[in-house]
Subunit: 268 residues, 3 copies
């Protein structure tokens, strides 16, 4: 289980060790994800050319692959980057954007799962789509609640060896066995585009700094969720929410953490 | 004619019915347009691969096609998406970015006009460029005032069957006959990139919810313009303008609406 | 040397003469760079298709080429746009993003240097990478301090004929001979993505309005740095920093300028 103290240590490590996070990410999310990483003290890089991405595994500390706005050349870059990260023994994280509502995305996401991601982060319908369940997503939407996807998340974790995170009103993190439920966050976070994509980037950053993978993923999601609820308390709408969120990231109040063992309730 | 009451109903419908808006849009505008839609309660999706866009017409409620930063693969995606939307009987909107100053853009925009857009939204020089008039635009700039383009807008509407909107200090909406003039807005809106692109996305969203097309377009532009003048009253510059605009969108004051029959004055 | 008065004149010229700046720039930076130009009163255009960019030299006043997130089609567009600008006698500026840490970027940046850029702006490791020195950059990071790159900057200026700017805690501008050191700015500027890319866009804008190239570059960097330190004084974190920066740009306090002849100290 993570605690306020372990969260504070993970947060400080981002600032002090400044991991270089290579993101292959959509045009809609690139700027926000980069700013989230910078706000935490991490360093973003966004190269996406098939020519370049293979060499990034040598220099970057970690990789986040995001299927949003995918095109054939970017899909090729994702394959190459994931293979390179895997060969270099560096963490890589899959964000299967749209795998809940778009059949080809689910197919490609499953192909990438064979390249041994350390973690997979998606909303309920994306995680359900990855194991062939209908999660009710439309386009890139969540459809179902995160708890509904917990069994799918466990199955996906068991099949792929990845830590799987389902984010929503409650976030769940599982390595196939028990799950942790993370209860921070605020509904206003869903009114800003790229919040999930940014969370994936932070997951990649934390995996570079902590050998305990489920814990690293839980810390990352909690950093985002705690900043989100601090921001919502100060925001007057979705515009100031974005500003307050970036302002909160460097100085989150770790005492706000609400984490619990989530297996029983969520699977029941 | 639209009224404060009809505007309030259109605004509430976006939040309550949450239309899924498929945007094919430039990297410069994607994030802002997505955040504008989310602020209003609508759901954005930004797929742009020729492989994927055809299937989006089955799931999205409406489509916005924006020529900014066009490339050959994205042009192909625009064609496929427009054809799919047309076949599925779903609304689609054309934003002919740069058609006022770039000959190839005007040519491609005219090609897309043959695919029966429900609405076309542009600045004066873009609308004039679409009917072969010189509107004095440089690059993606407006050049002329919106009133100068009203005759071009009527002609374009008559030729294409689309509702045509010319935006500027005053926005005009016409289906080829009479025009409505919308007088809300603020000059500070022109100091934020992607404001016009975001307006087009809102036009697409409103067309999904109201069978009266000219009314839907007028509501969409008024939502953006009223939020813009509310934001300008609170902003200290173009940075806070962007924040205040997103904050204002969910809670616009519909009583601020200033709409009038615009045919006589503007065409005179 | 630049002065508070010359800075004020350069700043007013941007607003009054509204140069049209064509940017070929990454998805992570496009929106922020466009908003920075608009905040100053300049006009951005972001076309990036090889089909279109050649014709932009006829209409745009100046060009900024930014290697971030480069792909083969965008590299081709950069070549075509630079050739067109050079033929048309219009300014163009190179931003060699990543040339410090990625060998292929340095190679391509050197190729573009043969197309006679009027200015080159990079961080220390990028400028050092362009002359074949190891500057310790990882990915797109700076690695070294800007002063360490001053000799490299002079050599690059002498070899290419471009004014070379190395930005960092202190910014240096040199035409191969003496250098100017610009001491405005704030560390919080490094916590916002695309700040350097936006500075390059402003360099391009200022070069369109002033025949004295080193002075134009120094004015551009000072506009950005003065706005940055004004913003940092008002910001509560990296989110509000971005807002305050855009708000400060139209009303910078030119009396804050801290410029000095930088050759002796920096080269010593």
């Amino acid at each position: 289980m993570i605690t306020a103290d372990s969260l504070a240590a993970a947060h400080a490590a981002l600032r002090d060790r400044r991991p270089l996070v290579h993101n292959i990410i959509s045009a809609v999310s690139a700027n926000f994800a980069a700013n989230v990483l910078l706000a935490l003290g991490a360093a973003p890089a966004m190269a996406e050319s098939p020519d370049e991405v293979g060499s990034f595994a040598a220099v970057a500390d970690t990789l986040a692959v995001n299927l949003g706005m995918i095109t054939p050349p970017r899909a090729e870059a994702m394959r190459l980057a994931a293979v390179s990260a895997d060969k270099a023994g560096k963490p890589w994280v899959l964000d299967p954007v749209g795998a809940g509502g778009i059949a080809d995305r689910a197919r490609f996401a499953r192909e990438l799962c064979l390249l041994r991601p350390w973690a997979i982060r998606g909303n309920a319908s994306e995680i359900m789509g990855l194991v062939g369940e209908a999660g009710g997503g439309r386009g890139v939407d969540a459809g179902s609640g995160s708890g509904d996807a917990l069994l799918a998340a466990r199955r996906l974790a068991a099949e792929t060896g990845a830590v799987v995170a389902v984010t929503g009103a409650v976030d769940y993190v599982t390595d196939g066995g028990d799950a942790v439920a993370l209860e921070n966050g605020h509904p206003l976070m869903t009114r800003i585009t790229a919040m999930g994509c940014a969370a994936t980037a932070v997951v990649a950053a934390c995996l570079a700094l902590d050998a305990d993978r489920p814990r690293a993923v839980a810390h990352a999601l909690s950093i985002v969720a705690v900043a989100g609820e601090m921001a919502a308390a100060a925001a007057r709408g979705p515009g100031s929410m974005q500003v307050e969120f970036l302002d909160a990231l460097p100085r989150i109040d770790c005492g706000r953490l609400r984490a619990r063992q989530g297996g029983a309730a969520a699977g029941g």
